[in-house]
């Protein structure tokens, strides 16, 4: 592992100047999680528009450069995408987004916390919609 690969200019930039940082006034999804090991915390809010598209995505949180840059980059990727995109999102996508740094097992959790929060929120939202529908078909 080379920390020069992990802490590239772009990662530090997202850490120090996070995009989509803040809270939404109107949101349909509100998801929160933390990593008890490091104390990294992330809250994500999503406003869902027509066609099940994520119209607005914002986050707040605190933690290391990896967790905070990762979630911020993820909000940019997610914005405008349909909810189904979140279901397809994989660990590999997140690693690729971060420039495929060689992270040790304990730091991988930092990188993936944002994805976990987004998935938890979106799955919960889809699940609630599913329960509201009697026909039993997934939205």
């Amino acid at each position: 592992m080379s920390s020069a690969d992990i802490y590239r200019e772009v990662i530090l930039d997202y850490y120090r100047h996070p995009r989509n940082f803040g809270k939404l006034e109107k949101f349909d999804i509100d998801s929160h999680d933390s990593n008890p090991l490091c104390g990294d915390e992330i809250e994500m809010q999503v406003q869902v528009g027509s066609g099940q598209k994520m119209e607005e995505v914002k986050f707040t949180g605190k933690g290391c450069a990896i967790s905070q840059a990762s979630v911020s980059m993820l909000t940019e990727l997610a914005k405008g995408k349909p909810l189904g995109w979140v279901k397809e999102l994989s660990k590999e996508d997140v690693f690729k987004m971060l420039g495929n740094p060689d992270l040790g097992p304990s730091r991988v959790k930092c990188a993936l916390l944002g994805m976990k929060v987004l998935k938890t929120g979106v799955y919960g939202y889809l699940g609630a919609q599913y329960e509201e529908k009697d026909e039993g078909e997934l939205p």
């Binding site: 592992m1 020069a4 490091c38 104390g39 990896i66």
Partner: protein
């Protein structure tokens, strides 16, 4: 500055085989001793010797191996007790400090704490000296209150006096903070607590491994520490208490070994300390603790302490010269244990630990099981470097060099 040595560190390092290994191609610089220390070859040999020569259960086997194992296990108890100025009859082997405080919670707390009682802990405690009292307070309808800190990271003794006016049942305090390094005036605190009839629990996890401790002189009712932080194997530690106090208490865990006689409807308890050592005890690791005590005694705890104060003094100076480093805890090395917690500009401690690891430098990052203290410091986490006998001035230099590298990577 003068790099004086209280003993020959290079020679001590030879006793620890792990220090020869490389991490990411670099010399291992192990500065995570407050979490756990490395083990000298002697301690590893003691385990191998037990398992290859006289492995047997203790106390009830009358054959040769059983008698040898019992003798070694009890010798470890005597040595450990002597090392900390405790009565061997009042020294219970436990898994570690956490099990010791839980033992007190159940075996003493369930019987002695009543509804409406006040329990006192401090904001600098490790979770192992907070959560058991939280649960005890909840189950008994008691209230847990906290002594705050002065800006320099020492205990607010005025606030302690105020809380003692409420005649608490229990006062729980660390001898040495695992984050700030603050050495608390535990003998004065125990004396003050005794005056108002409070029972005292002192967490010695960060004191016994690093400085001479005389539990008798401290005057604590209960004093707990862990073996693995003092060169011994994991899974063994001790709770020291007055024999009479242990005798009044109910058992903690129950089953074999801790009984005298078992009848269909009741049982009688074994003598202390065996009453609190239910089941087959951790024989090998207790013997390992005895060996670690021998090893530390051969260096001398006065010299261990002197060595750590010198390193601490050097480290505090070196770190404070790095622009952007904020150090927590008392500035005077004489008033703190061999642990330095700090933050470096906006570099998160986890990022710092990753960058240092690449240089072979192992530090701790996070909340150090002291979330109340993190909140008081108003930080989510800190980086922490902590020392033991095998650390050298070179190790501190490696830490400082690693910080400069982190500074470059983070464009500070």
């Amino acid at each position: 500055m003068l790099k004086a040595e209280a003993f020959e560190v290079a020679k001590v390092r030879e006793d620890f085989p792990i220090l020869k290994r490389k991490v990411h191609g670099k010399r291992l610089v192990y500065l995570d001793n407050a979490a756990t220390t490395q083990k000298p070859q002697l301690v590893v040999d003691a385990l191998v010797d037990f398992y290859t020569r006289y492995n047997s259960n203790v106390h009830r086997s009358v054959h040769t191996l059983g008698e040898e194992a019992t003798a070694a296990y009890e010798a470890a108890r005597s040595k450990t007790a002597k090392f900390v100025g405790a009565d061997p009859k009042g020294l219970v082997f436990v898994r570690g400090t956490t099990e010791a405080t839980n033992l007190v919670r159940f075996a003493w707390g369930e019987k002695n704490v009543k509804k409406g009682d006040v329990l006192v802990a401090t904001l600098m405690e490790h979770h192992s000296n907070i959560v058991p009292w939280q649960l005890l307070a909840r189950s008994k309808g008691a209230t847990l209150k906290y002594v705050g800190l002065n800006p320099d990271g020492t205990l607010d003794m005025g606030q302690l006096e105020d809380l003692l006016r409420e005649a608490p049942r229990l006062v729980a305090v660390a001898h040495c903070s695992n984050v700030l390094g603050t050495i608390n005036e535990v003998s004065a605190i125990c004396a003050m607590a005794k005056k108002v009839g409070a029972t005292t629990v002192v967490d010695g996890a960060q004191s016994v491994p690093h400085m001479p401790v005389d539990i008798g002189a401290v005057g604590a009712d209960f004093y707990a520490f862990s073996g693995h932080k003092m060169l011994a194997p994991t899974g063994v530690g001790a709770l020291a208490a007055r024999k009479e106090l242990l005798e009044e208490m109910d058992p903690f865990q129950s089953g074999g070994e801790m009984i005298k006689e078992v009848f269909e409807d009741h049982s009688t308890w074994n003598d202390v300390p065996y009453k609190f050592e239910a089941g087959t005890v951790n024989i090998a690791d207790a013997i390992g603790l005895g060996t670690a005590v021998d090893y530390l005694s051969s260096i001398g705890m006065e010299r261990v302490r002197k060595h750590e104060v010198a390193l601490l003094d050097y480290a505090l100076r070196a770190l404070s010269e790095v622009k952007g480093v904020k150090i927590y805890g008392p500035p005077d090395p004489a008033r703190r244990g061999g642990v330095v917690s700090f933050n470096y500009a906006d570099v998160h401690p986890h990022d710092l630990a990753t960058i240092l690891d690449e240089e072979g430098v192992a530090i701790r990052s996070g909340h150090h099981c002291a979330q109340l203290l993190m909140r008081w410091l108003d930080v989510p986490a800190t980086a922490r470097a902590s020392f033991h006998v095998y650390n050298s001035y070179d190790d501190v230099d490696a830490l400082t060099a690693g910080l400069h590298k982190a500074g470059k990577l983070f464009r500070l």
